[in-house]
Symmetry: C2
Subunit: 145 residues, 2 copies
DNA sequence: CCTAAAAGGATACATAATGTCTTTTTAGGG
DNA sequence: CCCTAAAAAGACATTATGTATCCTTTTAGG
């Protein structure tokens, strides 16, 4: 449960690599794939998805390639993950309570909502800039003392 | 990503049902399955797993069935989930950093560790008693203001 | 020894993950 | 205008996982 797929992992590697380059630098897919050690054909599919929603911009033909669609400090890890993995849904009832007859009286239901919020919270708190800089936000170290 | 499987969902339903019964009451698998609307054969497999690790106790033969292995206030949701889904691992590097060449310098790595802690934190904070009672812990409502 | 019930094992089917391959579109440059 | 570089699009192949069912074996009561 809860496991990021290869696709998600590769997606992050690829776009973090881009985030480490100057914003206007156009990078070849094949170069990115080699740098982050991902099968190029697979990464191509991933970047196509990114491109569709504007996370990266693509240029075709000679001299083409990819660059970030926005400044890396304005792209959160959550966006990247959800772009390729879909929304973070610990249990189907979180986004479709009507699918479960028991949701009206179920005590577990709110727990999954809570889990979702926590996970999204962590991933929203990290930007591509943080990741490429190596300057990870000081974690709250939330010890409910 | 992050989605509980049917197995996990059914497991929770089943054991929460048990938690709502007197501790010494032996329940028939078929009754449990019917009550929580889960395929009986599937629930059987799940309860076998529970039984092996002592989360529930089983009795064979005539008059047999299942009961909780411990008091419901001493069983956390995390235990139940991990019993059937395995450990909560947002990314493989969380439990096997040696599998990834990049883990030594990777900035994403600690994020997954953080996610894991948050999720486990939420699930550890809920017991079967809470779930069967309907008395869900007052959530921290962690608004980092 | 007969019956109830769980345990264990094998199997079937569907879906999702993980890639690869081929063809098409777009763009630059001589 | 053509040639080449590069991404986009779509089809396909393979494997792993999820979701379940069935059958046989073990255990226990009466
Ligand atoms: S039983 Fe509760 S937790 Fe499970 S799917 Fe339905 S609402 Fe969600
Ligand atoms: S690249 Fe980083 S996040 Fe991805 S698997 Fe390796 S250590 Fe983990």
């Amino acid at each position: 449960m809860m496991e990021l797929t290869r696709k998600g992992e590769y997606a992050i590697r690829g776009i973090v690599y881009l985030a480490g380059k100057p914003l206007d630098k156009v990078c070849l897919l094949s170069d990115i794939a080699a740098a982050v050690d991902v099968p190029p054909t697979f990464l191509a599919k991933i970047f196509q998805q990114f491109s569709k929603i504007g996370l990266v911009r693509s240029f075709r033909g000679t001299g083409g390639g990819f660059m970030l669609g926005r400044a890396p400090e304005n792209i959160t890890l959550l966006e990247v993950v959800e772009a390729v993995e879909g929304p973070i849904i610990p249990n189907r009832c979180v986004c479709a309570p009507q699918d479960c007859d028991r949701s009206s009286f179920c005590n577990v239901h709110p727990i999954w909502k809570q889990v979702q919020e926590q996970v999204c919270g962590v991933l929203t708190g990290v930007t591509l800039k943080d990741l490429s800089d190596g300057k990870i936000k000081p974690q709250p170290t939330d010890l409910a003392k």
